[in-house]
């Protein structure tokens, strides 16, 4: 009898988890994209890009998970882009992309490229574009209440919590050949997550960070897609 009760409890938990996984796809996320191109861009054979995030000692850093998501989104598929790993690029260009020394703006690029050995090393690595990612995901609002209790006879929760998260990211694409900004792409997403609880809390999680990542990756792919008439 105890075994049957345990099996039924496990089934109930699994069902609720499965429902919550299905329902989370229905949570609201909003993507806004702004794409400004100052000149055409394209990747020739053998050319690659590298995704960099600011890691200086004063500003908030973009999450590693976002960086990894963007990398995976850009490389996957038949039309994937050749993306070098950030740590390999930074090591190859040591010490010029260390947090304190990395060029803060495109105006610093010519000075960097004028240093002995830098242009040769970049040619050796094969990187044509730097994609600087700025931004993060933050909780902007939250509310609700939930109470949970546990006793020898059993336990559970009752109530509801909600929270709204906003993701705002910008990709600034620098062309190392021309030492200029090739384009800027922004992605903003908001999502509200809910956690109602009737005995067991059911998480309905919005993932604006993932939505912003996918939106940004789509735009970056289009940015580097071969233009009509080009080889």
């Amino acid at each position: 009898m105890f075994c049957i009760r345990l099996t039924l409890t496990n089934c109930a938990i699994c069902t609720m988890l499965g429902v919550s996984i299905l329902i989370q796809g229905c949570v609201t996320s909003r993507i806004e994209e702004f794409h400004r191109t100052s000149s055409g861009a394209g990747l020739a054979d053998g050319e690659s890009v590298v995704i960099l995030t600011r890691r200086d000692h004063t500003t908030d850093e973009t999450e590693d998970s976002f960086h990894k998501c963007l990398h995976n989104q850009l490389v996957k598929g038949a039309s994937g882009i050749d993306v070098k790993r950030e740590d390999e690029f930074v090591d190859s260009m040591f010490p010029f992309f260390e947090p304190r020394l990395a060029p803060a703006n495109p105006q610093a690029l010519p000075k960097l490229l004028a240093r002995p050995g830098v242009v040769d090393q970049i040619a050796l690595i094969g990187v044509r574009y730097l994609i600087w990612i700025d931004g993060d995901t933050q909780t902007v609002d939250q509310g609700g209440s939930m109470s949970c209790a546990l006793s020898p006879g059993g336990g559970g929760c009752l109530g509801m919590n909600w929270w709204e998260r906003e993701s705002s990211y910008e990709a600034s694409i620098w062309d190392l050949k021309t030492a200029e900004v090739a384009g800027t792409i922004s992605a903003d997403a908001t999502g509200t997550s809910y956690m109602p609880a009737l005995i067991i809390p059911i998480p309905l999680i919005a993932r604006p960070g993932a939505a912003a990542c996918k939106g940004l990756a789509v735009q970056i792919r289009q940015f580097f897609a071969p233009k009509a008439g080009q080889g």
């Binding site: 000692h57 590693d64 090591d91 040591f94 010490p95 947090p99 020394l101 090393q121």
Partner: protein, 220 residues
Amino acid sequence: MGFENIGISRITKRLALLCVISMLASCTNNVAIRGTFPKPLVAKQPIVLGLYYSNEFKNFKYIRDSYQGTDWYIELGYPSVQLFDQIFGSMFESVEQLKSRPDEMSPALHVNAIAAPKINDFAMLAPDDSALDFFSVSFKYQIDFLTPEGNLIHTWSFVAYGKARWHFFDEDESVREATMMALRDAAATLALDYHKQVPFIDWLDRGSHTQLTETVSDNY
């Protein structure tokens, strides 16, 4: 039934004791820093440099006893030796570790000059201290540049910083990352600011090292 009660009670007591010991042991974090440094993209200097590491430098440790919170024990001598060996090894034609600090009685004539680094200070800011979600560390290094006879030419002091996100379940890794970032910052300073050490470079340019080299050659 009586025997079963005694067995469960003993097991429970032993488990409780084990938990208490584990909790006490986890209050002190021993962190070993290990890593390598990339070769800097700078021109090699045509100098044979001697490196002298004092015992104080080689055995430098950071020990922090907190009244409330986590205690820290971080070994910093070994990674600092690695730092200077690897970076100066890339910047100069040749480097050689000296077993003792040279002086007038026992000069190191087989090198052009000597660098003797020191760690003047190491500081760490933990989330407990700052209510922020990252660890930050800083080194205060000092390098004494010496003649082969051990006379001071120039002293170079600088500070290196590192920061890393707080990993809730692995604070050791956070400290390790922050310290490696600070060591890389120190490596970057060594590579890029060496040319600003004018008194030392002037001493080398005045031909003193060339004369010493000739002296060494004559001895052979």
